[in-house]
């Protein structure tokens, strides 16, 4: 069996999540690789979530919102688009293949489109293999870590 | 080139019996249900469209109304009650008038009173003529042989003269029909060989009416065929065997057998048709134009008087036979002179010709080179 990527999807509640539900109601089969996380608006998707997803083992991240002009929150999706453009540049700087990150618009009526999107993205990521940073970043540590000492995470206090 | 629409065309067709054309909204059920409609000729919808849009020249040049036998399926199926069958019928009347160069046909169709008047006048004229002629020739008490009131050979000569006139009139109209439908069509090239090869279509359709059999109901075809063959038989008997028909007193079964059968056929079918139209019992009898009645009544009259004079003659009532003979001719002459070239009877020529022309047109269209075809706007009506 070939590599099965895991894709984390951030879907807005009003258009894309409903569209994904519609794909279900209409029994439009698609690849089982997407793990959906519902947000109220694609504008809620903080780039932090995307880097967290990749860092936690996602092979791809899909962000879906309402079509431009159709946003339930008037224009949250334009903000997503702006962030996505800049985030994409950061991902490129990390040497991440740009096919792993995608922003697209799925309306509540586009079940079919959603299903095709998932298939398409899965198929594009499959040949890339598991997520990895660019060659320079891939270099893991070659530290001689002393046993018994675990690095302390920085904590915040209020 | 754009064709000028004539918004008054529907009004004109209504004078020819068209009704409810405006109700049509082009769903195409009529064409779908029509057993005659095919790939090359799609009707009645297309003709309905031409009519609605007032595309006079398109309508004049189409053969489609003639390819319809009026089985009435389309009218039955029409969801809008637009009566496409009757519209096709009225288009045939209109086309008859357009083919007729004299304008008489148009006059008759648009004014049945004029037709009736013409028939009556011609009948009276014929009656007067035959009486005067009879008196000059022989004795009212003699029906056949020497001294006959209306000698067979003279009547025969009259028949042939009349036939000549009819052929001339109808022939000219047929040529006009050819010109409108095939001759002037630049989109096709018809070779003389094609004309020759397809010529068999005329007698075939004339004699068998075979397309009518495609209709779901077979009875109209049977009635139509019987009427047609009876009439043809009678025509042949009169044109070629008049003498033997009239000669008595013995019965010459070779001749009279046909004659009786034909007379029976004519009377039977005409009564059937009249009854049907009165009761509106079948789809194609639902609507009757005045000219339909004139035609049927005339035909029944002629048949009945024909039978009557024969019976009277055989029964020895010579005076009565001769008088009825005159009445018979008073029916025959207007029927032939007015109905054949100018009215309903003309379809006996136009319909087989239309079958012939359509077969030619269909084959000629297939021969058109591809680039020519692209220039020709293909009919888009389904």
């Amino acid at each position: 069996m070939g590599f099965e990527p895991t894709i984390v999807g951030f879907l807005c509640n009003w258009c894309s999540y409903t569209g994904a539900d519609l794909a279900g109601t209409a029994r439009i089969k698609h690849r089982p690789n997407l793990r959906v996380i519902r947000v109220m608006c694609s504008g809620r998707v903080d780039p932090t979530f995307v880097v967290k997803a990749f860092a936690s083992g996602a092979d791809g991240v899909l962000i879906c919102g309402c079509h431009p002009g159709d946003c339930h929150y008037l224009e949250g999706n334009y903000k997503t688009l702006r962030r996505f453009e800049l985030l994409k540049r950061l991902m490129l700087a990390y040497g991440i293949d740009e096919r792993r990150l995608r922003l697209d618009w799925v309306s509540a009526s586009e079940g079919e489109r959603f299903a095709r999107l998932v298939d398409e993205m899965t198929e594009k990521i499959q040949p890339l293999g598991p997520f990895e940073l660019g060659p320079a970043f891939q270099n893991g540590t070659d530290l001689g870590l002393v046993e018994g000492i675990t690095p302390t995470p920085e904590v915040s206090h209020g | 080139m754009a064709i000028r629409a004539n918004p008054h065309l529907i009004d004109e067709l209504e004078l020819y019996g068209a009704q409810d054309v405006v109700k049509c909204y082009h769903c195409g059920n009529c064409s779908a249900t029509c057993p005659f409609s095919g790939d090359s000729y799609v009707f009645p919808r297309k003709s309905m469209r031409y009519l609605q849009l007032g595309l006079e020249s398109c309508l004049r040049d189409t053969l489609e109304p003639w390819l319809c036998y009026y089985c009435g399926e389309c009218s039955d199926e029409c969801p809008r009650g637009a009566e496409p069958g009757e519209t096709m019928m009225s288009m045939r009347r209109w086309l008859t008038a357009r083919y007729d160069f004299t304008g008489i046909s148009a006059l008759f169709y648009r004014s049945p009173k004029a037709e009736l008047l013409a028939i009556v006048l011609l009948a009276l004229l014929t009656g007067l003529g035959f009486v005067l002629f009879g008196l000059s020739q022989g004795d009212l008490a003699v029906y056949s042989g020497d001294g006959a009131f209306l000698p067979a050979e003279k009547v025969h000569l009259f028949d042939w003269t009349m036939a000549g006139v009819l052929v001339l009139l109808l022939g000219i109209n047929c040529i006009r029909m050819w010109w409108f439908t095939i001759g002037s069509d630049r989109s096709i090239r018809v070779t003389p060989l094609l004309y020759l090869k397809q010529l068999f279509q005329v007698p075939l359709h004339f004699m068998t009416q075979k397309r009518y059999r495609d209709c779901d109901r077979q009875r109209p075809w049977a009635i139509h065929l019987v009427l047609m063959l009876s009439y043809l038989t009678m025509l042949i008997l009169i044109m070629f065997f008049l003498h033997r028909v009239q000669h008595g007193p013995g019965i010459d079964w070779w001749v009279h057998g046909f004659g009786y059968a034909a007379a029976l056929g004519l009377i039977g079918t005409t009564i059937y048709a009249l009854r049907g139209r009165l009761k509106q019992s079948e789809p194609h009898y639902k609507h009757s134009h005045e000219t339909d009645w004139i035609f049927l009544v005339l035909l029944l009259l002629v048949s009945v008087t024909g039978v009557a004079q024969h019976a009277l003659h055989r029964g020895g009532f010579e005076v009565a036979a001769n008088l009825v003979y005159v009445v018979h001719m008073m029916g025959v002459v207007p029927m032939l002179l007015l109905e054949v070239p100018f009215s309903k009877w003309s379809h006996m020529a136009y319909r087989p010709l239309a079958m012939y022309f359509s077969a030619i047109h269909e084959r000629a269209s297939l021969n058109v080179p591809a680039d020519d075809q692209s220039k020709t706007p293909a009919p888009q009506v389904a």
Binding site: L81, R89, L90, Y94, T141 | -
Partner: protein, 322 residues
Amino acid sequence: MADPKLQVALYWGAACGGCDVAVLDTDEFILTVAEVADIRFWPIAVDGKYADLEAMDDGELDLTLFNGAIRNSENQYVAELLRRKSKVMVAFGSCAHLGGIPGLANDASREEIFHRAYLDNPSLEEGNVTLPVTEKKVASCTLEIPRFYRRVHKLADVVAVDYFVPGCPPAPTQVKAVLLAVVQGALPPIGSVVGAGERTLCDECERRKEEKKVKRFQRPWQTIQDPDRCLLEQGIICAGSVTRSGCGVRCPDSGMPCRGCYGPAPNVHDQGAKMISAVASIVDSRDPDEIATIIGEIPDVMGFAYRFGLPASTLQQSVRSL
């Protein structure tokens, strides 16, 4: 521990020396420190050998201020040594805290760095192709130099760190406050960031802030700035909004945008990602092409997102082993 004086060590890893200077910049306060503390080890200021350090008992030191990142095996060795010897380990300054400026080298491989430093450098003498090796046998013995790691780490990646003092370098007033807290034994819970505020720079920045809408981003020299208005609103990428307060707003006050050395605000998970979210949000356009153009003109995305924190970034941290 009979000696009531605090036993203190200061050390530099991969660093520029600025942090040590920052300690000296506390001026006469350093003398006060000296009254209450013994400086046991401070390579930049006092003589001392690793052997002295190795000879100490574990936990003999009360406090180590470790500045600089972990770039090579020597940095790691000393960091581990100091950790063992010291009761309190403080990551002092941006490099120890987040990886700092040396951490930006993480987007190049060791080979690329060596190539650049030892082979392609324009200041090299022609024909000089000397490359460092960790071991070299000479006539009588084997010489060793520290191993250059594949990437730069923050201090907490190699040892347990008790406190973090951010800044490149930490502001002298904050250094003073931290030292005072140590002296007075008033330290917050382990793992805290000390010597910094709990909000972002904007809180202390005196510049006028209005609603933010930006059509074009630019570098400071590309525009004549309004000295009283928020730099970001003028299209100058200032990291102040995503950077912990406490530095005293020294850069923006001098007309230069903040570059983020104090690290992210307490609740922010990833400084660079947050910066991207905030800065992109204020792009004043709804046209996809125009948005792409405006964003495309931003120079050096990696540099502004993680100027001081690439080794600490979420993605870099996710790569743990070969």
